[in-house]
């Protein structure tokens, strides 16, 4: 069964420290993977997707098929990065439906 696992409910770091939000998935096939973010009192929005291989707001994520992981990383955390982060998997179909992980709250302390 398709599943996305984010093992940490809460990750707390100090400003300037490196950040790694973990995401593991199980999927039979080649998945499309995304990170969505929800800042305080804002709606859920796309942060980045693995097919774009882009860096958004200093965040990057690399798909590791061997480890079935898609961890989100940033070398130097900023206070404005504090938010809820969801890893999500899209099935390769034309529906675009997403399977979400439970989310990790990132708290960046000054």
């Amino acid at each position: 069964a398709q599943r996305v696992t984010q093992p940490e409910k809460l990750l707390s770091v100090f400003k300037g420290a490196p950040v790694e939000l973990k995401c593991n998935y199980s999927y039979s096939g080649s998945p499309e993977l995304f990170w969505y973010v929800q800042y305080s009192r804002q709606r859920l929005q796309l942060l980045l997707r693995h097919i774009s291989r882009e860096s958004i707001k200093g965040f990057t994520a690399d798909l590791n098929k061997g480890e079935t992981s898609f961890h989100l990383k940033k070398p130097f955390a900023q206070e404005e990065d504090s938010a809820m982060y969801y890893c999500a998997l899209s099935e390769k179909s034309n529906t675009g439906k997403l399977i979400f992980g439970q989310g990790t709250t990132l708290q960046v302390k000054p």
Binding site: R43, L44, L46, R49, Y86, S93, T95, K97, L98, Q102
Partner: protein, 113 residues
Amino acid sequence: DAMVIQNPRYQVTQFGKPVTLSCSQTLNHNVMYWYQQKSSQAPKLLFHYYDKDFNNEADTPDNFQSRRPNTSFCFLDIRSPGLGDAAMYLCATSRSGGNEKLFFGSGTQLSVL
């Protein structure tokens, strides 16, 4: 300039009393989704429309129905809400599905008394 609008932001209903949540979009997207998110859990897809084609998830209870009268609007009907249906309901759209990004509304927090 909100592109996916959900009303109301908070909805309170009584046990067993039908309730309708609404979602509208100004993006002219083909696909609209309804997700249910219970406290501290992942958003879970209930169903989606690809244009007028309705696609129900296998484990969505029969208590949940949806209507999409036109491109812009989509409704979630809960016929007989139970206490376990209290949750945040998220509407989302995408232009044509596939691996395009989803645009989310702010959600409706449903309470069942």
